[in-house]
């Protein structure tokens, strides 16, 4: 370049050219051209409409709706920093991290605005920041942060999880419930006074038939007889053993012991589930793939086991595996029965009530179950009558000793803290008072 050229160019370079930008609210501002051109959208506008565009107040470039003046100035600040070529990557990074620190509302607006101006690096930056905010939070928390309405039905919420395991199961379980309810009503009429003594037996019966009955429901008639026989056998054994027991307290002990001596646990669970899977050979009801069912059963088993393993007791003593007294030959069976009960309670909670993704279950003495939690209905506390399933007019169920005062919170947190991913419904049991 000759001196003369330089002389000509210099003043021009000194004189920055400005572009006029108009936001939807009508306000117009003047912006250095080079900064504004950093935004692809503005760049295109200028190029398309020719040099006249934006050169004066009258023909200002109108910006998309999502860009309000506040955002515009933010974006321009961003552009002002980055359009300078001499900056190192590190500098840019540092600037960006500072830049992006703002409240969620502004972040959303910024992302929107940047997107409409097609400023991809800024879109990425703000999107990542928003993603970091969303990460690791429950839907309720996210809703709170973003002030979003809870406008999905429970069905829809469970949709992605649904076909995984819930669909056929929920149908099965609902049918089962209806059936159970009927059966119980009939039995109540028949039994009458014997109810008290038979409390344990019946509950376990119900449970077993609940579990077995699931198969029963689903298997074709030719197999049902076999199932019934098996079920009765099993029932008799268990009820016999329970009968020889006295009260809830001891049973609870046994249960605790059973959980201490967990060697029973896996085999017992296998028992339950093998019972189930046995019946599934070759049946096609409900279109449930037996392989899938088995996998799902294993998942539930896993789930129950995980619940066990994550439950931490408060006192160091209790951590020792407890040796349990063996009352005759019924011991192992007894333990099994109770595990069955608990297991099925879990099953019930998990699958029967399709509502909660996160729920707390309180089983109170008068045999009602309270399911509270994030069901989306203002905290969602609902009472369900489970008397017909487990707790049968249990008068004055024993409590545990040494329950710390803040147990409820703690237990709930312990269970939910197993970091179960949403593919498995989260369950928490806040207080279980058994028979």
């Amino acid at each position: 370049m000759s001196e003369a050229d330089m002389a000509i160019i210099k003043p021009e370079m000194m004189m920055k050219s400005y572009i006029w930008l108009e936001t939807t609210d009508g306000s117009i501002q003047q912006v250095e051209q080079e900064i504004a051109m950093y935004c692809p959208m503005i760049c295109h506008e200028v190029l398309q409409k020719g040099l006249g565009a934006g050169s004066s107040k009258n023909c200002a470039i109108s910006l998309p709706q999502r860009v309000n003046p506040a955002m515009l100035s933010l974006i321009l600040d961003y552009c002002r920093f980055h359009q300078v070529p001499g900056r190192s990557n590190k500098e840019r990074k540092v600037h960006d991290e500072k830049f992006i620190r703002m409240d969620t509302k502004r972040l959303c607006e910024l992302a929107s605005a940047a997107d409409s101006l097609q400023l991809k690096p800024l879109v990425d930056l703000s999107s990542r920041a928003l993603a970091r905010i969303i990460e690791g939070k429950t839907p309720e928390e996210i809703r709170e942060i973003f002030h979003l309405p809870d406008d999905l039905t429970e069905e829809e919420k469970l949709e992605p999880l649904k076909n995984l395991m819930d669909d056929p199961r929920i149908r099965l379980l609902n049918r089962l419930y209806a059936k159970k309810r009927k059966e119980l009503k009939e039995r109540e009429k028949l039994k009458g006074k014997e109810v008290e003594e038979r409390v344990d037996e019946r509950s376990v019966d119900d449970l077993l038939s609940f579990i077995n009955g699931k198969d029963h429901k689903v298997v074709k008639t030719s197999k049902s007889k076999k199932k019934n026989k098996k079920r009765k056998e099993h029932k008799n054994k268990v009820s016999h053993n329970l009968h020889s027991k006295q009260q809830g307290v001891q049973i609870v002990d046994e249960t605790a012991a059973s959980l201490g001596g967990v060697s029973n646990l896996p085999s017992m669970e296998e028992d339950i589930f093998s019972l189930k899977t046995d019946s599934e050979d070759g049946y096609v009801d409900d279109g449930m793939d037996p392989v899938l069912k088995e996998m799902l059963d294993r998942e539930v088993e896993d789930f129950a086991r995980r619940l066990n393993s994550s439950w931490v007791l408060s006192s160091g003593q209790e951590r020792q595996p407890v040796h349990f007294s063996i009352n005759g030959n019924g011991a192992t069976r007894r333990l099994t029965a109770f595990q069955v009960m608990l297991g099925s309670l879990i099953l019930l909670m998990v699958f029967g009530w399709q509502v909660p993704e996160f729920c707390g279950v309180t089983v109170k003495g008068n045999s009602r179950v309270r399911i509270s939690g994030l069901t989306g209905t203002e905290g969602g506390d609902e009472w369900f009558d489970l008397s017909y399933i487990i707790l049968d007019e249990a008068s004055d169920p024993p409590k545990y000793d040494n329950v710390p005062a803040d147990r409820e919170d703690l237990v709930r947190d312990v269970l939910s803290s197993t970091l179960l991913f949403p593919f498995e419904l989260q369950l928490c049991i806040s207080e279980l008072e058994l028979l």
Binding site: P160, E318, D401
Partner: protein
Amino acid sequence: MKPGIDDQSKPQTMIQEKYTKRYQNLKVAEALSNNHFYPFACNELSSIIDLGYSQLPKDLKAFIFRDCLSAFRLLPEMNTSAAVSAANLLVKSVESAFPKQKKNLAIVEFKQAKVALKRRTKSHDEHIDLPSLPQDILVHIFSFLDVSSLLSSSQVSRSWNQATSEGSLWRSLFDLHFSHKVLIHIYPGIDWREAFKNEYILYKSSKMLRSGRGYCSYCDSVVWHDNLRCPKKQCRLKSGKKPLDLMLTHQVVNYLLGTTSSSDESDSEDEAVRGLWAYPTLQ
């Protein structure tokens, strides 16, 4: 001094140093200050305490104690229920394993944290109207999320739910988690979310993802994985598309304590033995 005693103390200190070094390599403390890793780190601390506190050398115990305290101190900043649950679990472990003095200190710290947390949630009540984000931005945001966060997002609201059903999201997740394991037949109209779900169940991914840990063979260390990849850049470049070997928490603890376990099954049973159902009443 008898030579026998000298000989005994030397290998001991070496072992102690080895444990401590391993623990420091695990970088639990750093994870605690990260919003995303906080629950994972707390759970790992809990497991370490549950499974082997008594075996640890003295200085490692001190480290663990220090990290527990900082976990509680950081709790108010982590404003999620997952963090609170993890901290509760940690408290339980602390209560059962720590000696009296340390236990009390830790519990005091925890209670203070809870109070601070309560104070925070109270001051939270502004009802601003946020602009609704357009769908493609939502999808873009979701593309940075991991599986569980994506699923949580799908349950937030209708518009978010729609955005999460975008196939490309699930496709990239599928590629991230399973492409090295599974050869999938891609046909037009394939539902990537379904495909992902199927593989997820098959590979018991949720169990593997629960720890937040992976083993990177390139830097030969146990790391907090960043979306299944090693956080170190060089390792990421070397490994290309291949994700880390995920680890379970008890495997991490085994690494720390130098214990080995024969199989996965036995390990989960061991854990089950130690963690008991909450029915105390024992004679």
